[in-house]
């Protein structure tokens, strides 16, 4: 084994040298999981100094092909050529040594360690015995070069999502990655944070790095990338440059197929007042306030958007509304009833429905079949059998109906929910929750991680419900989502809610000020 260099920073070529071999070349990649063909002859070509967007619908194989590139998976067939050298990569460590670094959607950082400790851990794991102060210096030097600040001594779990992401990117860079692969990095960021990240990515490309950006947001693609690759059902269907007069509508069609002609629009016809929350307060496990005297009103047939950076009390609000948690103070009135002491069952009976940010956290069970998940909330009403016996045939038929109605792909009634793509699972969850007797829908980041088509389907389901008179409390980090569905918008910051403003008066600047302000 050759000794590792003491400083890990292997810089890629300083300029996007033409004539140089591509940074990464994947050809004819096949990969099956248990007979399911995730990749079928897929290819990908990444040049030095370019930001290369990889787009495609949920389940297209984007993460899989990049996991093949970084040798997390072994391909069944095909070749992986890094910087012109056809050296077999036998595992993630080999890939790292070859200069490939991937930032997964779920970060790989130790929460109870500081940023510097995480970096030192990774460097030592790669055979570079840095001391903690050395790691901290490397970190702050690199951060300075890239023009942002990161406290090397801060514990990971005290950082915001965006900061964690930067820590992860820095870690990968310090490990010597010349090729950086970011899997849906902006899915969890607000518009402001996303812009900062994409600017950083451009700066890295200018330094000569090659960057792969997996994303569902075509707007980012158009503005920030040099090339676009579109994948569809395990195949590469397009590799082109936006500068060559590429039509983004065409890209969207290639990525997710024909879109419905018009995106859903909610025409608000606010009716009688339905939900009134006052003085709602709750604490986190560590005693700090998560929600601080929150108050809001919502009428039937209206969508109230709550914008905000994640971790400002949104999850607590959702749990308080669904009844999984009790508030320290405050009232939640739905029509004439005070729900604070009511069980989740009572709340459902009153017409309250909830789409949590993570469906497998508190809405669906990954180990149950689709039929079971879809019947979960309906069994108690006697729709699927008597008080004692269960009518599984009925559950099956109902699941078949819902799956067909949502042009569901990827599974039948007997498929385990965990095997469904995010978009398909979310569509079915909405079909279950937005039934005719739903009076209030609480939706938390309902389109997070979904492709364009699935996002539209989800928004359509919400719009349809609202048109029937359902009220919707839409909690999201995605400003675009909020703006397209809500009639009024408030900002949540540190557990407090700003006064609502009509959507027509909302500008990104005004909202931005509310999101970070300490009013």
């Amino acid at each position: 084994m050759t000794p590792k260099p003491k400083t890990p920073i292997a810089r890629p070529g300083a300029h996007p040298a033409s004539g140089r071999a591509p940074a990464l070349l994947l050809r004819g990649i096949d990969k099956s999981f248990d007979g399911h063909r995730a990749l079928q002859g897929a290819s990908f070509r990444l040049g030095w100094g370019e930001v290369h967007a990889l787009v495609g619908e949920n389940g297209a194989g984007k993460s899989t092909i990049m996991n093949v590139a970084t040798a997390v998976y072994a391909a069944d067939a095909g070749e992986v050529i890094v910087d012109g050298r056809d050296v077999p990569l036998r595992g993630p460590a080999d890939a790292m040594a070859a200069g490939l670094g991937m930032v997964h959607q779920h970060f790989r950082l130790v929460g109870s360690f500081t940023v510097a400790e995480n970096v030192a851990l990774a460097l030592r794991g790669a055979g570079n015995n840095v001391t903690l102060p050395e790691a901290a210096r490397l970190l702050s030097d690199r951060a300075d070069e890239l023009g942002f600040r990161l406290d090397a001594g801060a514990r990971i779990d005290e950082l915001s999502i965006a900061e964690r992401q930067r820590a992860e990117i820095l870690k990968v860079l310090l490990l010597g990655a010349g090729i950086l692969i970011l899997d849906e990095p902006t899915a969890v960021l607000t518009a402001e944070e996303a812009r900062a990240l994409l600017t950083l990515v451009r700066a890295l490309a200018r330094e000569g790095h090659a960057v792969v950006l997996i994303t569902h947001k075509l707007r980012e693609v158009a503005a920030y990338s040099d090339r676009i690759t579109v994948m569809r059902q395990g195949r590469t269907v397009l590799d082109a440059a936006p500068s060559e007069g590429l039509d983004m509508g065409e890209v969207a069609r290639l990525a997710v197929g024909e879109m419905p002609p018009t995106p859903p629009r909610v025409t608000a016809r606010p009716g009688a007042p339905l939900l009134r929350i006052a003085g709602l307060s709750a604490r986190r496990a560590d005693g700090s306030p998560a929600l601080d005297g929150l108050a809001l009103d919502l009428a039937e047939g209206e969508v109230l958007g709550i914008a905000g950076v994640g971790g400002n009390g949104q999850s607590e609000l959702v749990d308080l509304l669904s009844g999984l948690r009790r508030p320290d103070a405050g009232t939640i009135r739905l029509g004439p009833h005070d729900l604070v002491g009511a069980s989740p069952a009572r709340r459902r009976a009153e017409g309250l429905r909830v789409i949590p940010a993570d469906r497998f956290d508190s809405a669906m069970a990954p180990g149950l079949t689709l039929a079971e998940n879809l019947a979960l909330t309906g069994v108690s009403s006697g729709r699927f059998g008597s008080r004692w016996l269960l009518d599984r045939a009925r559950m099956r038929r109902e699941a078949e109906r819902l799956i067909a109605a949502n042009e569901g792909r990827g599974g039948g009634p007997g498929t385990k929910a965990a095997l469904l793509s995010g978009g398909n699972a979310q569509k079915l969850l909405l079909a279950r929750e937005v039934s005719s007797d739903a009076r209030l829908l609480v939706a938390h980041s309902p389109s997070r991680g979904l492709d364009l088509r699935a996002t539209q389907a989800v928004h359509q389901a919400i719009a349809d419900g609202v048109a029937r008179g359902m009220a919707c409390l839409l909690i999201s980090e995605d400003l675009e989502e909020i703006m397209s569905l809500s009639s009024r918008v408030c900002a949540i910051n540190n557990g407090r809610l700003s006064a609502p403003m009509p959507v027509a008066e909302v500008t990104p600047e005004r909202l931005g000020a509310l999101l970070v302000g300490h009013a």
Binding site: F33, D34, H36, Y73, A74, P88, R90, G91, S322, G323, L324, S343, P344, A345, R346, R347, R348, A349, V354, P356, F360, D361, S362, A363, M364, A365, P366, G367, L368, E372, L376, T377, V379, S380, G385, S386, R387, W388, L389, L390, R392, K416, L419
Partner: protein, 353 residues
């Protein structure tokens, strides 16, 4: 050259593969056990005779195996039910002791008319087992106390309580040994006319059938599955989570208590310090191997019963030490457990180019 291997979780495990890995694990374990026993001086032909013919293929041997199986089914089922709602019952022996004590208490005080004595003993043993598991259940529900610790500790407390009774008030005055006096004829489970096999068999089979029905076709069984798979989702969906958890956990305690009474009234006819030993280990192994499926509990208990019967034979007729018998049994069980890996995962090898 083999450079390493990856484990890929299978999206679903085909039934045939599942059965095949079990069988392969069993065969591998038995072969390893045979190797050990031959090295210890047991003649190879005798192994076949004892392990297979005498435990499963002769009427007498089969009877012994079935007798050993009866309490195993009850504790295995008890553990499996609790596991289904994510309650880790490590206090199986404690509930078993309480059940055995309850039955003994009824017998010592001749409570109730003779005709109802036995049913009363069995019923009370179930109540006692349920009571003993209700304590850790309450601690968990009220204050989040880990049931792993509390059930385990209550198991020890139950054993000390048994000793306290046997060395004190309940000691058999006729023999002076620390056992309770033998049961009257009306207090024993009737024999079925097949070796030592007693009517406890019907109780065990009935319990399996009931559990299979509840889990398979009832609303309660479906709810329990949902609670086991994702408790938060079950709560948010409005399911009566508390009721489900309590009924399954208390049912588990009752079955373990019943196992204690069945041992006392079916095979031992008295309470002694040794009747409960090993059931904690067995219960967990059975529930795990059976993946909490009641019908599979029956099959696994049967095989384990055979393993224990053969172990007894080895001890008595071939002078194999208790420790070696445990080792051999452990080897077989470990092989079967380890073989599950190959059902759950596909092994993908990486080779150097």
């Amino acid at each position: 050259m083999l450079e390493g291997a990856l484990l890929i979780r299978r999206q679903r495990v085909p039934l045939g593969l599942w059965g095949a890995t079990y069988a392969a694990g069993l065969v591998f374990g038995l072969a390893l056990a045979a190797l050990i026993l031959v090295r210890l001086g047991v003649p190879a032909p005798a192994l076949w005779q004892e392990f297979v013919v005498q435990t499963f293929l002769t009427s007498q041997g089969l009877g012994q195996t079935v007798t050993a199986m009866i309490p195993l089914v009850l504790v295995g089922l008890g553990t499996a039910l609790a596991m289904r709602v994510q309650f880790w019952n490590i206090g199986i022996e404690g509930q078993l002791w309480l059940g055995a004590m309850a039955a003994t208490w009824v017998s010592l005080h001749d409570i109730g008319p003779a005709a109802l004595r036995l049913p009363l003993m069995l019923a009370l043993s179930m109540l006692a087992g349920a009571f003993w598991i209700a304590l850790p259940l309450a601690l968990k529900l009220l204050w989040g106390v880990s049931e792993v610790i509390s059930t385990l500790l209550l198991g020890s407390i139950a054993f000390f309580w048994v000793q306290h009774q046997l060395f004190g008030a309940w000691r058999d005055t006729a023999t002076g040994f620390p056992t309770s006096p033998t049961l009257d004829a009306v207090e024993r489970l009737p024999l079925l006319g097949w070796g030592q096999v007693h009517a406890g068999l019907w109780l065990a089979l009935g319990a399996v059938a009931l559990a299979a029905l509840v889990i398979g076709v009832t609303r309660l069984g479906f709810y329990a599955r949902a609670v086991g798979e994702n408790r938060r989702a079950a709560r948010a969906a409005g399911l009566p989570v508390l009721l489900i958890v309590c009924s399954f956990v208390l049912g588990a305690g009752a079955l373990c208590g019943l196992a204690g009474a069945v041992i006392v009234t079916g095979t031992e006819f008295r309470l002694s310090q040794s009747i409960g030993a090993g059931y904690l280990f067995s219960g967990i192994v059975i529930a795990y191997l059976a993946r909490s499926n009641p019908l599979a509990v029956l099959v696994v208990s049967f095989l384990l019963g055979g393993l224990y019967t053969a172990g007894g034979v080895l001890k008595v007729f071939y002078g194999i030490s208790e420790a070696m018998v445990l080792l051999v049994q452990g080897v077989v069980l470990l092989s079967v457990l380890a073989a599950q890996l190959f059902a759950d995962f596909r092994v993908e090898t990486r080779r150097a180019a």
